[in-house]
């Protein structure tokens, strides 16, 4: 190896190098340890609660089933003729939520799918004051019977930070508050 005269920019040597490295990497450790945990994140104010409204439901068909007409039946093979035909499209959901009589949500939720035959989904997160609240929920899934929605009205006492979930229990066929 050639003993070449080599000049480098001023660099710390010996203990100075170690001191600089300890200072720099010590500061790095402190920074990473601090900002990985601080400042704390407060999602809600101290006296707030959260309502999560979540419905996913396949609405009723938009129309009634009807018998196949003779002309329609004639176009089909005998073994392919259904007794009745039903519209594929599903009803959009009408969702209304009121808190203490004041409307919070009033949405028409369309069904998914190109043929509009999928489930309609709604998710809303509503920050409300903690304490006693009168919650009224209406859900209609049938365009032919908008005057007969599912309904639920209850008085709930929400603790600070509490999450109230408004959902639909398809098994029981009712709106649930949990």
């Amino acid at each position: 190896m050639n003993a070449l005269s080599t000049t480098r920019p001023t660099q710390p040597q010996g203990w100075r190098a170690w001191l600089g490295q300890i200072v720099l990497y010590g500061l790095f450790a402190a920074a990473i340890g601090t900002f990985a945990q601080w400042p704390p994140y407060r999602h809600l104010e101290p006296k707030q609660a959260l309502i999560k409204l979540s419905f996913t439901r396949v609405g009723k068909p938009v129309g009634d089933c009807r018998p196949l007409t003779a002309a329609e039946a004639a176009k089909l093979q005998p073994n392919m003729r259904p007794t009745s035909v039903c519209p594929r499209e599903r009803s959009p959901l009408v969702v209304q939520v009121a808190l203490n009589g004041k409307p919070l949500v009033d949405r028409l939720v369309p069904p998914t799918g190109l043929a509009r035959d999928g489930a309609a989904s709604i998710y809303e997160r509503i920050v409300v004051p903690a304490g006693e609240q009168r919650v009224a929920v209406r859900l209609s899934d049938d365009v032919r019977a908008r005057d007969r929605p599912f309904q639920r009205e209850a008085t709930v006492t929400l603790a600070p930070g509490q999450v109230l979930v408004i959902d639909f229990d398809a098994g029981k066929g009712e709106i649930v508050l949990q």
Partner: protein, 531 residues
């Protein structure tokens, strides 16, 4: 010395040159504090890799120790906190803080490459393959919080699901999976763990692409830097331990969460604005990063290296030294068995000239042909032109003052620009595309042609625009790499090497002065050139 000549940005104005100047100042300042070997700004890619290795190692151990069920995950990690000798805290802290380090290294690495203009040209491939890594790092980091299934993990999982649900064409609601504690099943949890194990494998695959076009990619930092980084993370893990929040309870939102702002900033941002804005920010940033290489720039790309088959003997030195894997060896068209020929891919060539410096035919002593033709050369600055510049320059200096002993400065044009040298005097400056372009035989040639001493000025260690130019030059001059400087030529303090990046003009001036003094003390005995 005129500082105005030593800008390093060649007088350009705008945001990027200003950012580059600031970046170099920061690099130089940290060099002076901790030495270049321990300077994190000079090893950001390697630090990113190191963080990934630490994450993988600590993650494998964690995976062996934790219970991967909804009910057992939090309990098993809680038990780790109580492990003797704080080993559990060390393990957990290393895992988390390595993830934070990866984010910091990633952001700094992107910034560094941008200020150096590395989003286009030969760097375009690495840039484009690097952008998906940014998305993967955050996806991996955020998903890691969920596996603990404490209040923070549950909040992050729920927030992420809400954010994804904001995409209008998604039919199924992810949020419903996190509406209540009973909604989270072991099956879902297994899926989350599977994703957390699968994403690093995908990342490794993309990383492999990311460094495909780099020769000797640094996937491990210098030992001292690795020790310091690991030590800092371990110290942070013990001094600021990563502790669990209470077990997940989706029926409530915790009053305050100890927040990791490096990994989880997207949640507060989304809640402070809206999910749509969150998407605009993330997708917009990714699209911008992808689009940057395609923005028109006024930078003219230098012509690629050219191979002369008649002079290429297939020695492979250029193939080994090329920092961007632009050279491949193919069977030589002269049909001689075993003979190979270097072939340059112009799309990959950065036009650094390191290959020309490596070529054994790049010796100025050759007299057989009128014009010096080398096996591989740079059209922008051929070896023959360098020899002519050297010959004529030395002749002119000697003609001006017959009694003077001129010095030759071979300098990387991207390094320091000493104004005093430009003004003239006893120094002949020969600009190189990179210090690695200099064939060591040129030094001997200069000394035999009347130069009193030779100074080679390379960029700072770790600061070469072409990745390895300064280290390759040093290895050749110190005899550790072929072609090497003959030991006899390096004797007598007549040859010196200085590492001087932009802003280090004074270092060149000082070294030249030292060389001048050495030459004056021991005048050169003229030696006949070899035939």
């Amino acid at each position: 010395v005129s500082a105005a000549h030593d800008a390093g940005n060649h007088g350009r104005r705008g945001l990027r040159p200003a950012a580059l100047a600031a970046w170099r100042a920061a690099e130089n300042a940290l060099d002076a504090l901790v030495t270049p070997a321990a300077n994190p700004l000079r090893h950001l890619g390697a630090i990113g890799f190191f963080a990934f290795w630490l994450l993988a190692a600590s993650g494998i151990v964690l995976f062996a120790l934790i219970d991967t069920s909804v009910a057992g995950a939090w309990r098993s990690i809680q038990a780790l906190e109580e492990a003797p000798l704080a080993l559990g805290r060390l393990l957990r802290g290393l895992h988390r803080y390595s993830a934070d380090l990866l984010v910091l290294a990633l952001v700094a690495h992107i910034l560094r490459e941008w200020v150096h203009g590395h989003e286009s040209g030969v760097h375009r491939f690495a840039w484009l393959t690097g952008v998906p890594l940014a998305a993967l790092v955050f996806a991996l980091g955020i998903g890691g919080f969920w596996l603990n299934w404490d209040a923070l993990g549950a909040f992050s999982a729920s927030a992420t699901a809400e954010w994804i649900d904001a995409i209008p064409w998604l039919g199924t609601s992810l949020t419903r999976n996190f509406l209540g504690t009973e909604a989270v099943s072991d099956r879902l949890f297994s899926l989350l763990i599977f994703v957390h194990l699968g994403l690093p494998l995908l990342m490794l695959f993309v990383l492999w692409f990311h460094i495909q076009r780099l020769t000797r990619a640094t996937v491990w930092p210098p030992r001292r830097l690795a020790l310091l980084t690991a030590g800092a993370l371990a110290a942070a893990a013990l001094a600021w331990p990563v502790l669990s929040h209470p077990a997940a309870a989706l029926a409530s939102v915790p009053e305050a969460l100890r927040w990791d702002w490096m990994l989880l900033a997207i949640h507060p941002l989304t809640y402070a604005t809206s999910p749509a804005w969150g998407w605009v920010l993330v997708v917009g940033t990714l699209v911008l990063l992808f689009a940057l290489p395609f923005f028109p720039r006024r930078v003219v790309r230098a012509p690629a290296a050219v191979v002369d088959p008649a002079h290429c003997n297939g020695c492979q030195r250029c193939f080994v030294d090329c920092p961007y894997a632009a050279i491949t060896m193919v069977p030589h068209p002269n049909q001689r068995i075993g003979r190979t020929l270097a072939v340059v891919d112009p799309d990959l060539c950065a036009a650094c000239g390191i290959c020309a410096g490596a070529c054994p035919t790049s010796t100025p002593f050759r007299r057989a042909e009128k014009t010096l033709v080398t096996g591989i050369d740079m059209p922008e600055r051929p070896i023959a032109a360098l020899r002519e510049r050297l010959r004529q320059g030395l002749a002119a200096l000697k003609a001006r003052d017959a009694g003077s002993v001129p010095l030759v400065l071979f300098a990387c044009e991207r390094g320091a620009q000493p104004g005093g040298v430009r003004a003239g005097g006893d120094v002949l400056r020969v600009d190189l595309l990179c210090a690695g372009q200099l064939p060591p035989s040129f030094i001997e040639y200069a000394l035999r042609d009347g130069a009193g001493g030779v100074l080679v000025a390379a960029c700072r260690e770790g600061g070469c625009e072409f990745r390895h130019g300064e280290s390759i030059a040093m290895q050749r001059l110190t005899g550790q790499r072929e072609p090497h400087l003959r030991a006899r030529a390096a004797q007598g303090d007549r040859v010196a090497l200085v590492f001087a990046g932009a802003g280090d003009a004074q270092a060149i001036e000082t070294t030249l002065e030292r060389l001048r003094t050495a030459v004056a003390r021991a005048p050169l005995v003229p030696e006949e050139s070899p035939a």
